[in-house]
Symmetry: C2
Subunit: 176 residues, 2 copies
């Protein structure tokens, strides 16, 4: 399963591509940070992000896309940019005909570190270890995108196993 | 000048198309409300809005697009949906190669009613009058989009006149 993870941001948008299957080690394929200039107008910034993501999808041909779900934060201005960039990512995946799954930050942290309260350093350390990288991803913004992609591979696997289990139970008449 | 105005919203997105020139009466060409089901998944909703706006741009061939600038509101969930829908509108216009201008709600209110603090009923009444409609637009969500389009026609004209005035001053050596 090849997954493209997106940690949305208007100024810096992290993108990570990994391949793996549930319960196995994930392989790092690529990671990027798409930058846009805060001094540029919004249409220019959104168009640049849209085109960059479309290029990355065309280059890496993921089977699905995982995007971080935006929640309220203290800084409303930051939330707005994150929501706008997230919409561009979700729309871009949908236009490419790819399934999109969204995860909250704590779901992602829990998936890669075992704790939904883990800090950024811990997430980066685990991503580096899980993908057998010789050094943490640089720029650091890509670490969250890689964590999202790993989370999706594993959770997708979890869902697939659950579905399989339920299907098995149904066949056996075990579901009440 | 033909302008397509967008009052962004995820569940209801108002769209209005008017034609006019600065200092003249505007003509109503069309208005719509693009609906999406809150029960549907985000990728489906954003894709529906994107395609609807692309169809409307193709049908009406506006020269520019005006989108309401989203600000912080009390309800963070509403702000997020508005920011996401606004990003789809801005990106859609940019992808179509159209210039996009954003206006705050109070700029729009001031343009059509003379007061930045005008309420929704007052904006609707003025839009109905300015476009010589026999009755207020239904659904009402379209009124704000029409007001945005009118605002852009008039403000575009204002900017053009200012630019002309400054150019004139420059030619005459009148700018210090």
């Amino acid at each position: 399963m090849r997954v493209l993870g997106v940690d949305p941001g208007l100024t810096r948008c992290g993108v990570g591509v990994v391949e793996g299957s549930p319960g196995r080690v994930c392989t790092l394929l690529a990671y990027y940070v798409v930058h846009s200039d805060p001094g540029d107008e919004l249409p220019v910034r959104l168009l640049h992000l849209d085109r960059s993501l479309a290029d990355l999808i065309a280059e890496h041909r993921p089977e699905s896309v995982a995007v971080e779900r935006v929640f309220s934060q203290h800084n409303v201005r930051t939330v707005m940019g994150t929501a706008q960039a997230g919409a561009v990512a979700v729309l871009g995946a949908a236009r490419a005909g790819l399934p999109v799954q969204m995860y909250t930050p704590s779901e992602v942290k829990a998936a890669v570190t075992g704790s939904g309260q883990a800090d950024k350093a811990q997430v980066t350390a685990m991503v580096t270890r899980l993908l057998r990288m010789s050094a943490p991803p640089r720029p650091a913004d890509a670490a969250d995108a890689l964590a999202l992609a790993i989370c999706h591979v594993w959770r997708g696997g979890t869902r697939a196993r659950l579905t399989g289990a339920v299907a098995g139970q149904r066949r056996n008449g075990g579901v009440r």
